[in-house]
Amino acid sequence: MKVLVAVKRVVDYNVKVRVKADNSGVDLANVKMSMNPFCEIAVEEAVRLKEKGVASEIVVVTIGPATAQEQLRTALALGADRAILVESADELNSLAVAKLLKAVVDKEQPQLVIMGKQAIDSDNNQTGQMLGALTGFGQGTFASKVEVAGDKVNVTREIDGGLQTVALNLPAIVTTDLRLNEPRYASLPNIMKAKKKPLETVTPDALGVSTASTVKTLKVEAPATRSAGIKVKSVAELIEKLKNEAKVI
């Protein structure tokens, strides 16, 4: 079965981002970029499905600027077979991304689409679900376990009170949660080999998708900073402060 994995290039999760002085956004110039951590988990899960003999081909796709090729090469080094870059310089909203992915799904006809549950930049947690609506596929969001059984996939999901398992008809969409797996590192020989794997570039226009959006960002501000706290010397002093100063216990 063919597996399609969607990945996103985002600011590295360890970077403390700064808001631009003109409040137009966050400053991403000269900041380290990486593959979104949830997308790494999605790639890893696809590679494991291939190692188990469940998946026959892994196609990795991203939508973004030309530089997002780096993240596709990373996915190829981790075990994906080929890559598709939908090149768009604009920052796109989830619905536009879902529509572009729908066009790729129509073309590639995968049995399973795996993607991260959210990107750590926009923190939206929308694209997988939106792709579900557009394709009509069932969705297994926030997955911590994925088992393909015949023409179904059983997905254990992380929900607020614990875990829930659903059975989805294939083709289906799975979005990954942190505990699904521990992503591997790419080895140097695999990084070299990945340079020779096929990478196709298309444009939203070629896919016939309009990326217009109904939501625009008016401004981006830094969050209110907390006033500096104090260090207490003992537990007794801490309790005294909580009782009499902060009045919270």
Binding site: V11, Y13, K16, D123, N124, Q129, A167, V215, V220, V248
Partner: protein
Amino acid sequence: MTILVIAEHTNAALAAATLNTVGAAAKIGGDIHVLVAGSACGAAAEAAAKVAGVAKVLVADNAAYEHQLPENVAPLVAELGQGYSHILAAATSNGKNILPRVAAALDVDQISEIIAVESADTFKRPIYAGNAIATVQSSASVKVITVRATGFDPVAAEGGSAAVEAVSGAADAGKSAFVGEELAKSDRPELTAAKIVVSGGRGMQNGDNFKHLYALADKLGAAVGASRAAVDAGFVPNDMQVGQTGKIVAPQLYIAVGISGAIQHLAGMKDSKVIVAINKDEEAPIFQVADYGLVADLFEAVPELEKLV
């Protein structure tokens, strides 16, 4: 302007997050309708009808909606939602699962996890793990929005007397089935609604040591949370995780024990009113956001704290 709020419920009872979501709807202004989609969900619908400020409760009672599978519920919401100016749901795992599917079915963008309402079409939401706050404006015909419960005060659960109306919609889409669930059992207050939260991190060293936190929490009437490190190490189940990818809490008092304070953890708790950090590393980043910091060995400080409160 009429707003449709999707109720978060367990069929038998209404979840607290629904009250916060109605609170957000009240800030937008207009008539508020609540949709209760479930199976044998009469009790939840009755509870919704009593919520202050609700004008009408729509009840979709169908076996297909029992576990709120998005493949079944989203088409119902999209169909009912067409006449509304806004569709709101709490940003719980359930709301996040269903609402983007509704938005795409209506061909509109969705706005996730708003923390403030500026006007009927302009909202504030955190991005980059809460390190920036974006103000966004929507020109969509139907504004589809999830609401961060900690950003809004809940409305009163009693005092309303809304009309209850049965609605029907698409039934089982036949794409998914509920297999089972494992819910963590706890007598303590729910993490996202607790007034006091005591959280442990990697510094707890093992799951057994969480008993110190449970003892303290029971004395304070607090909920117990954890950092990702503690969850990944298997000390506690994942539904206790506080952070960007776990639960977002904003209690009156947050006590972080043996937690260094990574960006991703702070995203889940830095709106707490008072933050206390107990850590033996005085360089730990958690002290930069803590109102009161205690540099001490938690295995001495926590039992002493428990004894003295």
